[in-house]
């Protein structure tokens, strides 16, 4: 078993002190949420030197550096998009740190009293990722304790760098590669060269291009032909440093007939300033292979007045290249001040299938513009979209979805169900479906509902002794049931609690 021994499963280039520091994070991560570790920053702002520096910090080969520089020069000529139904002050891209990594032991744990009790409560309720954090922090016995309950291999990304990956040996036996993307660039350059940017091209969109230039770390997964990955894989992202952008990049390759279920969890501490998160996830799925990708996104949403919070601008795309390949995106989006995210499926192989299950909760002043794209290219392809949007407080929640049936995608089908739930009367829900059908044997169905949380349901719960907030959580969890069931079990529990937490203060 790997228990983060010495430098064993720790990324090269991270010095021993850093490892120690992060190990110790586990100790007070559990209690506080500001992790005061001395950081190694690249200077603020972005130019080609910073891009070179990031590349150098990761000891990257020249081809990679050039790839980044190319992306950077393209990005410089691009304009930030403004078509989403979100509204935020202009981002000053020169006022952001593009690289930060934990540096030394000079951490000063804040006392419990310094931590906002609200935040404390939130994370105490969340609980689950902390177990992994324990393992990653090398706490003795943590790994064994977890083994019995659940097997989830974890890669943790702390600000700009991957801290370490668990269960590496066991995975290696099965032929599965699970490591940080920077390790993969060094160790598996052929795979990376072949697939990186093959699903989300460098110039796909403004944030994707930015990410291509400056991504610092993320996860890499390779499942060989015919292999069913023996455990859930998971990446845990955390933004800690202030004024730092996080630009992680995930690449998953599922060879013919393989299967993997992958979980992604995100948190960030409370900050008054907004922080940028612009990630890319690329899934390559070959013949008869299947990938399930689940996200529980709980980046800091800002406070009740809309101050602070993460800007979450993410490009996620699956390319079902092989015939009969399958992808399932499941997302629970409760955090972030602004979310701009459309996990998409390119159904290229004949009979390939794409599914998208989503819960998006926006409370207080959060803005969410999220949905999916189903691009049907192959024959007899199928897709299914189930979106549950919940708006509370002053929040705005938009479902934006595109379904296209190309001329060659004959006899294909899509079913979309899009339900919105409103809590209170100051929030908004919007549904923006785009449908294009370019052949006459395919069928697209779209159903949408908008409702308010029903007072009679709440009263019924309260008459049985459930307080108003819990009653709302109960009813909303019921509303989201279909999506919660699509999550792996461990995450379903966590997500249910998260639903309750993120709606706190939405009634009364």
């Amino acid at each position: 078993m790997t228990s983060l021994e010495a430098n064993d499963s720790v990324k090269d280039g991270v010095d021993q002190e850093t490892v120690e520091a992060v190990r110790n994070v586990g100790g007070h991560y559990k209690y506080g949420w500001e992790t005061e570790i001395e950081m190694d920053y690249a200077p603020k702002g972005l130019d080609s030197d910073i891009v070179r520096l990031i590349s150098a910090k990761n000891n990257e080969p020249e081809w990679m550096t050039n790839w980044r520089l190319d992306a950077f020069s393209r990005w410089e000529k691009m304009e930030e998009p403004n078509w989403a139904m979100v509204d935020y002050p202009k981002i000053d891209y020169q006022d952001i740190y593009y690289y930060a990594s934990p540096k030394s032991m000079a951490e000063k744990p804040k006392s419990l009293d310094d931590v906002d009790p609200k935040l404390l409560e939130t994370y105490k309720k969340l609980g689950i990722p902390l177990k992994e954090q324990l393992i990653l922090a090398g706490v003795e016995g943590a790994e064994e304790a977890n083994l019995d309950e659940r097997k989830v291999a974890v890669d943790a990304v702390f600000d700009s760098v991957s801290i370490g990956t668990t269960f590496k040996d066991e995975l290696r036996k099965a032929g599965v590669i699970f490591c940080s993307i920077s390790e993969a660039i060094t160790d598996y350059p052929e795979l990376v060269k072949k697939y990186l940017g093959s699903v989300v091209p460098v110039t796909d969109n403004y944030f994707a291009t930015l990410n291509s230039a400056v991504f610092s770390d993320g996860s890499f997964v390779y499942i060989p032909e015919g292999v069913r990955c023996p455990m859930e894989l998971s990446t845990y992202f955390r933004i800690n440093a202030e004024n730092t952008g996080q630009f992680e990049r995930t690449l998953i390759i599922a060879e013919k007939g393989s299967y993997v279920s992958y979980l992604e969890g995100c948190t960030a501490p409370k900050r008054d300033t907004n922080q940028l998160h612009a990630a890319i996830v690329e899934l390559v799925i070959l013949e008869d292979a299947e990938v399930k990708y689940s996200t529980v996104q709980n980046w800091y949403p800002g406070d009740e007045n809309g101050l602070g919070g993460i800007y979450n601008f993410v490009t996620k795309r699956a390319d079902c290249r092989g015939d009969r390949s399958k992808v399932m995106w499941t997302q629970v989006e409760t955090g972030s001040a602004v979310t701009w995210k459309y996990p998409s499926c390119i159904l290229r192989g004949n009979e390939s299938q794409g599914e998208f299950y989503s819960i998006a909760i926006a409370n207080n002043f959060q803005q969410a513009d999220t949905g999916t794209k189903m691009i049907h290219l192959g024959k007899n392809t199928k897709s299914r979209i189930v979106s549950k949007g919940i708006s509370a407080g002053n929040a705005q929640n938009t479902y934006r979805g595109l379904v296209t049936m190309h001329p060659k995608a004959t006899s294909s089908r899509n079913y979309t169900q899009c339900d919105s739930l409103l809590i209170g009367n100051k929030c908004g829900a919007h549904t923006v479906p785009y449908i294009e059908v370019k052949n006459n044997s395919s069928r697209v169905e779209h159903e949408a509902t908008t409702s308010k949380v029903d007072d009679d349901q709440l009263f019924y719960c309260r008459q049985r002794g459930v307080n108003e907030e819990d009653a709302v959580a109960l009813v909303v969890n019921g509303f989201c049931k279909e999506v919660l069931q699509a999550l792996p079990m461990e995450f379903a529990m966590e997500a249910q609690q998260l639903v309750a937490i993120s709606l706190e203060g939405s009634v009364g």
């Binding site: 008459q463 049985r464 002794g465 969890n477 019921g478």
Partner: protein, 251 residues
């Protein structure tokens, strides 16, 4: 147990008076029945007792076990021992009946400062009570009241009552829509709960239920007032002659 003094209630939306001065005292351990024509305010009374929004109390007082309750939140009243079996039980899609029951039970326990029931103890208890009411395991797994038949919904209300063990049970037309056997089950369920420390207020249109649940007192409600109170014989009188004689009497 429950003391209602000169209770007057208006709708919040429009100033329409629904309850026009209700007086009622229910002793610990006793069973009272309320009968009355449609629209006389019986359900409204049950809602006001349990704290539903939308009503304005313009006068009067309600005490539960000596404590005034009109200022309390619905969940506080519930935790203090007030239970309402709804005339129209509400459906909650996606929320398993079992989850709902457990949440309710533990919320009340927590409120009273008692420890939560363990999953195992809870399951055992539910299965036992469900069996007595002939509620099958399948129904416990389904979402709360969704797709339940009318009779199943009513039995589910009694199941909740049996689990929560309230002190003051208000049953609003729990017998409506039940077949003969189900009515017997519900009545048996209520009778099994009869206890020195527990009182019932049974709202019904039919003498039949009162054959099984023998009330100590029967009240007739009309146009927001209790116009007559008496023993079980009053229910028989209504069954045979309807309300016209009684209404004429008050005129």
């Amino acid at each position: 147990m429950l003391k209602i003094t000169n209770l007057k209630v208006e709708l919040e939306e429009e100033s329409k008076e629904i309850l026009k001065g209700i007086n009622l005292e229910i002793e610990s351990g006793s069973v009272h029945a309320i009968m009355g024509p449609n629209g006389s305010g019986k359900s409204t009374l049950s809602y006001v007792l349990s704290g539903k929004k939308g009503y304005k109390v313009t006068n009067g007082e309600v005490e539960l076990a000596g404590e005034p309750i009109l200022e309390l939140e619905p969940e506080e009243r519930a935790a203090s021992g007030l239970f309402l079996a709804f005339q129209y039980p509400v459906e909650i899609p996606g929320v398993g009946n079992m989850t709902f029951l457990r949440t309710a039970m533990n919320s009340q326990r927590k409120f009273r400062g008692e420890a939560e029931l363990s999953a195992a103890d809870f399951l055992k208890l539910v299965r036992e009570k469900a069996k007595e009411l002939k509620i099958d395991a399948e129904m416990l797994k389904r979402p709360v009241n969704v797709g339940f038949s009318g009779g199943e919904k009513k039995r589910n209300e009694i199941l909740q009552m049996a689990l929560l063990e309230p002190k003051m049970c208000v049953l609003d037309e729990t017998d409506s829509g039940l077949d003969v056997d189900a009515m017997k089950l519900v009545a048996d369920g209520v009778n099994a709960l009869r206890d020195k420390g527990r009182s019932f207020l049974v709202i019904t249109h039919y003498q039949r239920l009162l054959d099984h649940i023998k009330p100590d007192f029967v009240h007739i409600m009309a146009d927001g007032r209790i116009i007559k109170s008496g023993g079980p014989e009053l229910a028989l009188q209504v069954e045979n002659n309807g309300y016209s004689d009684l209404l004429a009497e008050v005129q």
